[in-house]
């Protein structure tokens, strides 16, 4: 509102990159003209000033930006944790940002997987329980009880995939940072999401561990064709993605090509 904003009818042609390699994959998640501002004290602070974005199936997209550029907010909007002031978000052909609360909860559970900078594991639960938690949230008590063996197996597999199968019953505080982030990734993946949203997944880790996490993500993208959207302030990390966008002061500006 404060700035001249691209309107809804702005065609998605703004979105980015050069005609890539093969046939262009279908856009999976599309954002149109997203605006979001936060109220601080008495005035509104605009965070996103009209962002158009297309996430394609199976791609590893990274969004770089400095602190305060609004990259986390963008990720939250994409993951339906917050609603945009203006603009819309579509999953495939369906607009999803204005759905009722219940549906949003379900979408968060089924479609998106989140990985946060500070891992955000539940401290009271063991690693296995943390990984199981999205499934527990999805199912009723009875439903969970009926399938508990199967689900546990599923969670164990996922934990094995991130290389933590020896620490199933450990509490988060007994794990190292890298292990916690792996656990968080396992938790994000256990519900078989279509899109993994990662907010500075290596931001809290040392170089070596960060490297491992990045490799894990790249591997997942490669092998499982998992769509990953990662935001980071680290341009070097961002370059590992297939495609990199830059967010400056609430707008997507440059597009860095994938390696």
């Amino acid at each position: 509102m404060t700035t001249e904003t691209p309107t809804l009818d702005t065609p998605p042609d703004v979105s980015d990159d050069r005609p890539d390699t093969l046939a262009m994959p279908k856009p999976q998640l599309t954002c149109y003209a997203l605006e979001k501002s936060y109220r601080k004290a008495d005035h509104e602070v605009p965070v996103l000033r009209g962002v158009d974005l297309e996430v394609r199936e199976g791609e590893f997209l990274s969004i770089v930006g400095q602190s305060g550029s609004g990259k986390s907010t963008l990720l939250h909007l994409m993951g339906l944790l917050d609603a945009p002031d203006v603009g819309e978000i579509r999953l495939g052909d369906q607009r999803i940002d204005d759905l009722p609360e219940r549906t949003l909860d379900e979408l968060r559970n089924h479609v998106f997987g989140f990985v946060f900078q500070f891992y955000h594991l539940l401290p009271e639960l063991s690693l296995l329980e943390n990984v199981l938690s999205p499934l527990m949230i999805r199912l009723s008590l009875l439903g969970y009880w009926r399938k508990r063996k199967e689900l546990r197996e599923q969670a164990r597999e996922m934990i094995a995939k991130v290389g933590l199968d020896h620490r199933l019953s450990h509490k988060p505080r007994e794990l190292s940072g890298g292990e916690m982030q792996r656990a968080a990734i396992a938790r994000a993946l256990v519900s078989k999401p279509r899109i993994l949203l990662a907010d500075e997944p290596t931001g809290n880790l040392d170089g070596e561990t960060g490297r491992e996490i990045m490799d894990l993500l790249a591997d997942l993208n490669d092998r499982e064709k998992l769509t990953i959207v990662m935001v980071t302030h680290d341009a070097a990390l961002a370059r590992e993605a297939d495609r990199t966008l830059e967010l400056v002061k609430g707008r997507l500006v440059g597009q860095a090509a994938a390696a």
Partner: protein, 541 residues
């Protein structure tokens, strides 16, 4: 599923929540203990209050009474015979009991009830309260075995012990007066001066007025036919006109009494040992004086002597210190309640025992219809002791309200601690929401947590409360030992131990109430948790 898991985990890992549990536990335990003790007291009190009262009492409005009890009882039976188990006619009149103790005359106002012990025993407990049927204990040691077997019906006879006591006293007196006579000669009637109390001065020198003419031991019932003091000059020879026969001086008098223990004994604390001893002033076999009024206009004072056959202790101090039972026929005789021609006896009261006290209201209604209200008052024992019973009930109601406030305080504790936990868990709530938990789901975590606290707290409270109640007397001993002060003073309460009564309903009520309060207290924090914005919650540090 995650809700249950998290509830249980929070319950296990949040030690601050233990404070909530402890406060709920204490509240519940206190309520159970206090309610049990109150219920115990109140049922014990009811038993005692009921004690000597019959279920339903039909009372004449006048102390003159009405003649022909049989006709009245027939009428009652006709009206509601099906509900009635037993009836007994009695005479109730106020009077005074005088006896000598340590050389002083002690006079007490009493309610004098003429009964037929067998009839009275049918309408309520009587024997159970009589001293001779009871063993006397001091703490745990039995001081005296019962003098009479339970199978023996209550009657106006003296126990061998009482007879022995009486003989000893009488013979001692006879001895004394013989010696006196030897020294000072016979009492000169002219020295007898009228006293305002109706007693003659000679009596001061006597143990019992009935004995005052010791060389004529055949007399008894000196005061029988109302030797009123308002007819001077006093002529002792008149007294012996009706009945002069040789009787054993140690034989009991015609008037026989059961006297309330509170009237003739008092507790005294031994200053050395601190033990409370009961000092007995009159024991079975002794003679006492009764003063009351005759029937008829105007009522005349009458005095008569009677032998105490037994002392009763119902545990209800009001009764024990005001009631004196007398043999009915004799009381009717001395009060002039016999029709001079027909010999029909009058009674003032009919005591009725019902088959089932639940029917009391019905019976009362029928009786009130049958007996005109101006002449008869018809009441259940509960109505007669209404204020006392109501007081007990009101007391317990007020106490309950106050105690429930304790649990309410625990509720506010939960509220505060839960707000704290919600703040502490803000980020976790954000995570749960990011993982797809609904607001309702988050809310139910905290509601469930509150319920879990309530369940655990009141469960522990029930256990603790019941244990406390079960061992309350032992606990009292320990507290007494620790503080050096008697918590439960038997001389005040009359109970040998703290009475308790646990009712399942009360326990359920209290524990459900506590759980409800715990859930109610967690509603606000739970709503707050539910309304947290996921992004803000995630950012929360």
């Amino acid at each position: 599923m995650y809700k249950l898991l998290l509830c249980l985990r929070y319950l296990r890992t949040r030690y601050i929540a233990l404070a909530c549990i402890v406060s709920v536990t204490l509240g519940v335990a206190t309520m159970i203990v206090v309610n049990s003790v109150m219920a115990g007291f109140s049922s014990e009190m009811r038993d005692r209050i009921h004690g000597l009262l019959a279920d339903v009492v039909l009372e004449s409005a006048s102390i003159d009474g009405h003649p022909d009890p049989e006709a009245h009882m027939a009428r009652i039976r006709q009206v509601c015979g099906d509900d009635i188990e037993a009836m007994t006619p009695t005479v109730e009149v106020y009077g005074m009991l005088s006896f000598q103790y340590l050389g002083h005359w002690i006079t007490r106002p009493v309610t004098l009830i003429g009964i037929d012990p067998e009839g009275k025993a049918k309408v309520g407990p009587l024997k159970e309260y009589l001293d001779s049927y009871r063993e006397i204990t001091d703490g745990d040691t039995v001081v005296r075995q019962p003098l009479r077997d339970v199978g023996v019906p209550a009657g106006w006879t003296l126990t061998p012990e009482a007879v022995a006591h009486r003989e000893a006293v009488k013979l001692h007196e006879l001895q004394y007066y013989r010696e006196q006579d030897g020294e000072t000669g016979r009492i000169d009637p002219s020295t007898i001066v009228e006293q305002p109390g109706g007693e003659t001065r000679t009596a001061e020198r006597e143990f019992d007025p009935s004995e005052f003419d010791t060389d004529e031991p055949g007399e008894e019932n000196v005061a029988d036919d109302a030797p009123t003091f308002d007819e001077p000059p006093f002529d002792p020879s008149k007294l012996f006109e009706d009945e002069i026969e040789e009787v054993d001086p140690t034989a009991p008098l015609r008037g026989r009494l059961f006297v309330g223990s509170g009237l003739v004994s008092f507790p005294q604390e031994d200053p050395q040992t601190g033990k409370v001893k009961t000092i007995v002033m009159v024991r079975p076999g002794d003679d006492v004086k009764i003063s009351t009024v005759t029937s008829g206009r105007p009522p005349d004072t009458i005095h008569f002597n009677a032998t105490v056959c037994d002392v009763f202790k119902s545990g209800m101090s009001e009764y024990d210190s005001s009631l004196v039972f007398c043999n009915l026929e004799y009381l009717q005789e001395v009060r002039g309640m016999l029709h001079p021609e027909t010999g029909t006896r009058s009674i003032t009261t009919i005591q009725i025992k019902l088959k089932d006290f639940k029917d009391a209201d019905e019976v009362i209604a029928k009786l009130r219809e049958a007996f005109p209200p101006g002449m008869w008052s018809i009441q259940t024992w509960e109505e007669k002791q209404g204020p006392l019973l109501a007081a007990v009930e009101v007391e317990s109601a007020i106490l309950n309200v106050l105690l429930f406030l304790i649990i309410a305080v625990a509720g506010f504790g939960i509220l505060a601690i839960f707000f704290m936990i919600v703040v502490e868990k803000t980020r976790d709530i954000g995570i749960l929401k990011a993982l797809g938990a609904s607001s309702r789901g988050v809310m139910s975590i905290f509601l469930g947590y509150g319920l879990a606290l309530g369940v655990v707290g009141s469960g522990a409270g029930v256990v603790m409360g019941l244990l406390f109640v079960a061992y309350i007397n032992e606990i009292e001993d320990v507290i007494t030992w620790l503080t050096g002060r008697e918590v439960f003073d038997q001389t005040i309460y009359y109970f040998p131990a703290i009475p308790t009564a646990v009712s399942v309903g009360m326990v359920l009520w209290v524990s459900f109430g506590a759980m409800l309060i715990a859930v109610l207290a967690s509603i606000l924090p739970a709503r707050r948790a539910a309304s947290l914005h996921p992004v803000e919650a995630l950012r929360f540090e």
